[in-house]
């Protein structure tokens, strides 16, 4: 069978990253007007209202949690980790999308990155916020969470440096700081643009303060470029390290189903898959809602879909290994564990994860599917749900069949488990909607640079 044109032709030839007719001026005007001038659209109010409602659910769930304790969740013995840890891994995994796109593809100088990086990074900031909350509220005594931090104290008590949870604490702290900093630094030139174009006083004040005195001088630009490069160079490995360490949280345990050497890369692949999926889910509606067709083209969507397919293939390999290794090793507890995954109480969840993360994304081999945005959205949604299920299966499914057969039991989530999950989505959406309203969703200066490059004819 001859190769299809899609497989041989480079993406460039099919679709440009900038639609014809888009100029540096038009980009700047359009994007800054979205924030400064345009009336807040109805869809924003509806979305924001729903998000606030979910955030209220979160507040109630946390309030009750703080009053009563983690017993309000379905966690039991031996399944003493439940939704909170699953949610944590899920959120931090999705956060990787932003970092990968803006940092990794910045380093690779991919020109399709510029238009989507801001959306992705903003998503990352609030995903990380949701992720950061989870391990803290998961603690039996969350008010002592800072004991995980190696601060000097009169009792000379240090954290246990051998514990993966301590590594995790450090990793997530570094990641939160890194991604917020990276996002903010990348915003500065655009904030200055907004400051300069703002007509209302509060806008001038707000963006003025946030722009931190950016003048756009060549000195500033030189410093900025260097700082951004360094941050990108830091963030790209950091996104791998954090997911490796999240993987080690599990792999460092003796529990069958967790004690696997493949976990660090497995978690990086999973994170990438969910990250690309969630970026897709945001980019597709936003290019319509914010009228960004000119700068976010089908080319972008296509690239993201291809990345998702790649990550799905990598992850599927891990899924295979996950089943293969216990039999290869021949350890009884591991084999019991795998058999329980495949056919036990949580088997529907297991197979749902396989289908959503491994099977359905194979549709993306077809260009027609990649072009069909509603279908693509559904595939991405499936992946996002599937990745949550994957974490649920890893956490709960592994714990429910452990070495001690007499303690085997199941986990049944309570309404508070679901409320915490839904509430964290509320936190994410609320934050994201706010950013949507007050922050330019496309990096104007990078696009100007890109347009300049393209029109100057020195593009790839």
């Amino acid at each position: 069978m001859p190769p299809t044109p899609d497989a041989v032709a480079g993406p460039d030839s099919a679709h440009p990253v900038i639609e014809p007719g888009v100029t540096a001026m038009s980009v700047t005007a359009h994007v800054s007007d979205l924030v400064l001038e345009r009336r807040t659209p109805l869809w924003w109010w509806v979305g924001f209202g729903l998000s606030l409602a979910l955030l209220g659910v979160f507040a109630v769930a946390l309030g009750w949690l703080f009053i009563r304790g983690v017993g309000i969740w379905g966690i039991d013995w031996p399944i003493s980790w439940g939704f909170a840890i699953g949610n944590y891994v899920w959120w931090v995994g999705m956060a990787s999308g932003g970092t990968l796109i803006s940092a990794l593809f910045f380093l690779t100088r991919s020109d399709w990155r510029s238009a989507t990086s801001r959306i992705a990074e903003s998503m990352t900031v609030f995903c990380v916020a949701c992720a950061g909350i989870m391990p803290v509220i998961h603690l039996g005594r969350w008010w002592y969470f800072y004991w995980l931090f190696p601060y000097p104290n009169t009792m000379s008590l240090w954290p246990q440096f051998r514990s993966p949870l301590h590594w995790d604490f450090v990793a997530i702290l570094a990641y939160v700081m890194g991604s917020v900093l990276f996002w903010y630094v990348g915003l500065i030139p655009d904030l200055a643009t907004l400051r300069d174009r703002a007509r209302r006083r509060w806008q001038r004040l707000l963006y003025g303060v946030m722009a931190m005195g950016w003048q756009g001088s060549s000195g500033h630009w030189r410093q900025f470029k260097m700082l951004y490069l360094i941050l990108a160079a830091l963030m790209a490995p950091l996104v791998c390290s954090i997911h490796s360490i999240v993987g080690l949280d599990f792999a460092g345990g003796l529990t069958p189903g967790w004690h696997e050497t493949q976990f660090p890369p497995y978690f990086v692949f999973g994170a990438a898959l969910s990250g690309f999926a969630v970026v897709l889910m945001l980019v597709m509606p936003l290019r319509r809602a914010l009228d960004l067709h000119g700068v976010i083209t089908p080319r972008h969507v296509d690239v993201l879909a291809r990345l998702m397919l790649t990550a799905s293939l990598l992850l599927s390999y891990c899924y295979l290994m996950e089943v293969f290794m216990p039999f290869y090793r021949g350890e009884r507890a591991d084999i019991i564990q795998v058999m329980a995954q495949l056919g036990g109480y949580y088997a529907p969840w297991y197979w749902a994860k396989i289908v959503l993360n491994g099977v359905i994304p194979q549709l993306l081999w077809f260009r027609r599917v990649r072009r069909n945005q509603p279908l693509l959205f559904l595939v991405a949604l499936g992946v996002v749900v599937g990745m949550w299920i994957e974490r649920f299966v890893i956490v709960v499914g592994s714990l429910h069949r452990n070495h001690s057969e007499s303690s085997w039991f199941i986990f049944v989530p309570t309404v508070w488990d679901w409320a915490t999950l839904a509430g964290s989505v509320g936190l994410f959406l609320t934050g994201f909607f706010l950013l949507l309203r007050f922050i330019p969703m496309v990096s104007m200066f990078e696009l100007r640079e890109l347009i300049h490059k393209k029109t100057a004819g020195d593009g790839r």
């Binding site: 304790g69 017993g71 013995w77 031996p78 003493s80 039996g140 002592y144 240090w158 070495h403 001690s404």
Partner: protein, 1027 residues
């Protein structure tokens, strides 16, 4: 204004205030509470105190007081404030404030007092540990023949019972508070009227009484009331044993068993290991004999056969266990008797065909070991079986060797069922006008056909003495709060007749009367003194036994009270022999039920017994053997029976007695028990209390409603109708069919002979980390699976010692029970389609699981804050106040022995705060906890040893589980000392560690279980155990 002026004015003001207070108090002289205050108010030092806000502190303005001095004074005043909180406020006349400590009380140093706990009248000697004058822990009394230092969960829970906040506190008349004076007056008047007509209509109802003093008092009352009748009722009683002895010997006798002398034992649904008087001692004797093989005497191991309908602990430990329908059990006993020459030959045909080989083999084995053979039957077996057991024992030369017959321990033994029947009939017939109910609850426990509540309504004056308001109290005209056994003087006898003098451990917390005092009121005393009554009774007894002088009497009394045992008080041996012609006296052999309707078997719940312990959270939440069920009883049946009836676990069925119209029907959930006889169901009674405290009310279903006086143990032909409802049952172990060959290792004696190290596995490779070094001690524990009888005493003892909270049914349903040591119960399945295919276990195995204190502890490395650490003596310690509650340690523990406080369980627990063990931290919400090897006991021994500048001696530290264990299955000690008991156990060829392949290097090791099957039966086991 000068400083002098200010001082003067201040002084005058406070002096005036003091005068004023004293003056006002002087007017109110009535209340003792105020009296002491009044007296104080006159003393100069008190005036000084009143004058100054900080007594003893120099006036700040004039004195130069250093910071250090201020802190000293503040510290002292805090300490004094604490002390003023001590001492009882309940009895203002006699309370001793601890400002002047009573002699011998040193804060933080425990004191121990002997007494006994009775269960169904029989005493088990205990030692009660006191801290700062309050009892906090119960342990067995090593000098007591029934305890030998061990205890069971019920005895353990007696300390919780003492502090039960739901105990009754006041005398009630028709449900209203009446006061003790009113009772004394009413009872005295009544007694005078009764005495005038010779006591006609006066009845006393009690449970089994072994107390010589109480029996003596009732005897004395008969002089005043010649027509007085004393009835007895014990729902969980031993009538059948008594009747069996009457059949065999023509007179009641008690049996004392010597399991240490028995080579071959046949247990006929026997309760020797789980409830019989003396079961703690029997367990020890049995376990010692079972350890013989491991300790070098391969031939010394005993062999146990069990035939039973309902699984018992003895059955679980049997080398051959046969699950038989009740009539088949009797038939097998008859066939055995016939084979052994103790019955007519035609009985041999009565045994079910599938048992023929087994009966012959058993008979041969029994006959071959003549003189070292013991047959024992449990209280649920009919009198005929008991008589046959006596006959078989006699035929095999058991009396005098493995069984001793003694004069009955119960005072004036009667048939309880008959006694209660007669009482109920008389009550309804109007022949009872005053009834004293002493510490029993017949309205709840009496056979349903008697309708005891209605009968009580016909009695003009009924007085109920009980520690709590229960169903009977609600139907009596008077309720008198009974002093707990730890609050009163008394006496009681053990299974062998040995007397213990009960001494109060604490002044009655809520007031309370002893039965001695109540009877004394009936005898005419108005201010009875329980101590004086018991003391006087014993003065007479000591005299009678040759005491003599007052001094000798005083010494004997003091010794008896101190040691918890009255020397040489065991019952006399009874010279009895089986009267000839037994076969003719026996009722005809029972036949199986007609039709397919199952037979209902009534059995006591192992912990609640007849329901009297229903309000004790420890017992409600303690998993029942086999089912691991908590907070509920269920209709128990074999899996095959459930399948035949189309029932599954947790299906609620309506159980109706088809035969007897009077008895009603109960709705209850189903639970299947492997090893239960087919075609019959067990209804455990003791649950379904309607009037109990906040813990016990409405838990489970009340099986007494189906139990009639004609069918106390077995009710043929019940109907089970599915209601369509589901009732979730809180079990603590959800997987019991064991597939893993490695967790519980076991072998037959032959296999052990051939390969003594069958339990050993190759050692795992060493860790990359350097090994810990233990220059001082290296604590370790050894648990002998061959000794463990699965009685749960260790779990209960651990709960009491370590302040483990009760979490309630909802939390157990979520599998959040907190027990630090659990008894894993395993059914070993046979080949597919064989016994296992029918849900029949090949073998039942118990394995106590608790923290292994791993050398390479997986929990330690994953705790991010270092809340669980290795200590210098090898313990894996848990630092509660460092724990943040990540729960990773629990996930990483391959043994799953860590427990987490999901809620604030200790706070939510209804127990009184003064009942917690002060040596152990009470854990708050959000903290992980687990077995500590009773570190508080190790520390206590360490301090004592350090003061004497010596190492800790072997056996000086006993963990709570070890101390409680009747079978000596658990041994704790220093692995550094090659001669320590634990080192010797761990040197056994049977020693192995669980999950050592994970390189955890556990410090707790197990000794594999051995079975001693009869080679003649072993071949046909699968066919023999069922049809």
């Amino acid at each position: 204004m000068s400083r002098r002026d200010a001082d003067d004015r201040g002084g005058a003001r406070s002096a005036g205030l003091a005068r004023d207070v004293a003056g006002r108090l002087a007017g109110k002289s009535g209340r003792a509470l105020w009296r002491s205050l009044d007296e104080l108010a006159g003393e100069p030092r008190v005036l000084e105190m009143l004058r100054n806000e900080f007594p003893g502190l120099p006036d700040l303005a004039e004195a130069r007081v250093g910071r250090r001095r201020i802190l000293e004074l503040m510290g002292a005043s805090f300490a004094l404030a604490g002390l003023s909180g001590c001492g009882g406020g309940e009895a203002p006349d006699e309370a001793i404030p601890y400002v002047v400590a009573p002699p011998g009380v040193v804060p933080g140093v425990a004191r121990h007092f002997a007494t006994a706990v009775t269960r169904g009248g029989y005493a088990d000697g205990v030692i009660v540990t006191h801290q700062m004058g309050r009892p906090v822990q119960v342990e067995g009394n090593p000098e007591h023949p029934a305890s030998l230092g061990a205890l069971d969960p019920i005895i353990q829970a007696s300390i919780l019972d003492l502090y039960d906040p739901d105990r009754s506190r006041t005398v009630l008349k028709a449900g209203r508070i009446a006061g003790a004076d009113a009772l004394v007056k009413a009872l005295s008047d009544r007694a005078a009227a009764l005495a005038a007509r010779g006591g006609e209509g006066l009845r006393i109802l009690s449970g089994t009484v072994t107390s010589p003093t109480l029996a003596g008092q009732i005897g004395a009352l008969r002089q005043r009331f010649p027509a007085l009748q004393w009835h007895r009722w014990e729902a969980d009683g031993r009538d059948t044993l008594r009747a069996g002895a009457m059949l065999a010997f023509g007179r009641p006798v008690d049996s004392v068993l010597h399991l240490d002398q028995a080579r071959v034992i046949l247990a006929v649904e026997s309760d020797i290991l789980d409830g019989a008087p003396g079961h703690l001692r029997y367990a020890r004797d049995f376990a010692r004999r079972r350890r013989a093989a491991e300790e070098g005497d391969v031939g010394g191991m005993s062999r146990l056969y069990a035939v039973e309908s309902v699984p018992t602990l003895a059955g679980a430990r049997a080398d051959h266990r046969f699950a038989l329908r009740p009539h088949e059990v009797e038939a097998v006993v008859r066939a055995l008797a016939a084979t052994l020459g103790a019955g007519p030959a035609e009985w041999r045909q009565g045994a079910p065909g599938r048992m023929a080989t087994a009966v012959d083999a058993m008979a041969r084995d029994l006959a071959a070991n003549r003189g070292a053979v013991l047959v024992h039957a449990g209280p649920a077996q009919p009198a005929a079986t008991h008589a046959l057991v006596h006959a078989i024992n006699a035929a095999l030369g058991a009396p005098g060797r493995t069984v001793t017959y003694i004069e009955p321990v119960e005072a004036e033994p009667v048939d309880h069922g008959e006694s209660l029947d007669r009482l109920a009939a008389d009550m309804i017939g109007g022949r009872v006008d005053t009834l004293l109910v002493l510490g029993c609850n017949p309205v709840f426990t009496a056979p349903a056909d008697l309708d005891f509540a209605a009968a009580l309504a016909a009695v003009p004056v009924s007085v109920h003495l009980g520690t709590a308001v229960d169903e009977t109290a609600m139907h009596c005209t008077w309720h008198v709060p009974e002093a707990h056994e730890f609050e009163r003087w008394g006496d009681a006898r053990a299974f062998d007749g040995t007397v213990t003098i009960l001494q109060p451990q604490v002044k009655p917390l809520w007031g309370g009367w002893s039965p001695h005092e109540l009877l004394a009121v009936l005898g005419g005393e108005t201010r009875p003194d329980g101590h004086a009554i018991v003391r006087a009774a014993w003065a007479r007894r000591f005299d009678g036994s040759g005491g003599g002088t007052d001094e000798a009497d005083g010494r004997r009394w003091a010794d008896a009270v101190r040691s918890g045992v009255v020397p040489d008080s065991a019952a006399a041996e009874a010279a009895v022999s089986v009267a000839p012609g037994l076969a003719g006296r026996l009722p005809p052999a029972s036949v199986g039920p007609e039709g397919g309707a199952p037979t209902a078997l009534f059995r006591p719940d192992p912990w609640l017994r007849d329901g009297r312990y229903a309000n004790l959270g420890w017992l409600q939440e303690l998993p029942r053997p086999f089912t691991t069920l908590t907070w509920d009883n269920a209709v128990l049946m074999a899996p095959a029976t459930a399948a035949r009836l189309g029932l599954a676990n947790e299906d609620v069925v309506a159980v109706t007695a088809a035969m007897t119209g009077a008895a009603g029907s109960v709705e209850a959930p189903v639970w299947t028990v492997p090893g239960h006889a087919e075609d019959c169901i067990t209804l455990p009674f003791g649950f379904g209390r309607k009037v109990a405290g906040r813990v016990g009310r409405g838990v489970g279903f009340d099986a007494f409603r189906l139990r009639t006086s004609d069918h106390p143990w077995e009710l043929p032909g019940v109907e089970l109708r599915r209601t369509g409802k589901i009732r979730r049952l809180a079990v603590t172990q959800h997987h019991q069919m064991i597939d893993s060959p490695d967790l519980v290792r076991h072998a037959t004696l032959d296999e052990f002979r051939r390969n003594p190290t069958f339990a050993k596995r190759p050692e795992p490779e060493q860790s990359l980390y350097p090994a810990y070094e233990y220059p001082r001690n290296a604590w370790a524990m050894a648990i002998n699976l061959d000794s463990c009888i699965g009685c749960n005493a260790c779990t209960a003892a651990c709960q009491a010692e370590n302040n483990i909270a009760v979490v309630g049914k909802e939390e157990v349903l979520r599998n959040r029970q907190m027990h630090w040591i659990r008894i894993d119960t395993w059914y070993e399945s046979g080949t597919e389609g064989g016994a296992a295919g029918r849900g029949e276990p090949e073998q039942t195995l118990f394995q106590p699981m608790t923290c292994m204190h791993c050398e390479n502890a997986p929990c330690e490395v994953v705790c991010p804050v270092g809340a669980t650490m290795h200590d210098t003596d090898g313990l894996n310690v848990m630092v509660y106040n460092r724990c943040v509650g990540t729960r990773f340690c629990s996930n990483n523990c391959p043994y799953k022995v860590r427990r987490f406080n999901y809620f604030n369980y200790s706070e939510d627990d209804s127990r009184l705060s003064l009942s917690w063990n002060p040596d152990v931290s009470v854990r708050p919400r959000g903290v992980m906890e687990k077995c500590t090897y009773c570190i508080q006991r190790i520390r206590e021994a360490r301090i004592a040893a350090d003061r004497e500048n010596r190492p800790i001696r072997d056996g000086e530290v006993k963990t709570a589980c070890q101390q409680a264990c009747p079978a000596e299955a658990i041994v704790f000690g220093d692995a550094n000392d090659p001669d320590s008991a634990v080192s010797r156990r761990q040197a056994s060829p049977l020693d192995y560690g669980v999950l050592t392949e994970l390189n955890t290097r556990p410090r707790t090791s197990y000794q594999a279980r051995l079975r001693n099957p009869n080679p003649e039966i072993a071949e046909g086991r699968d066919d023999a155990s069922h049809s």
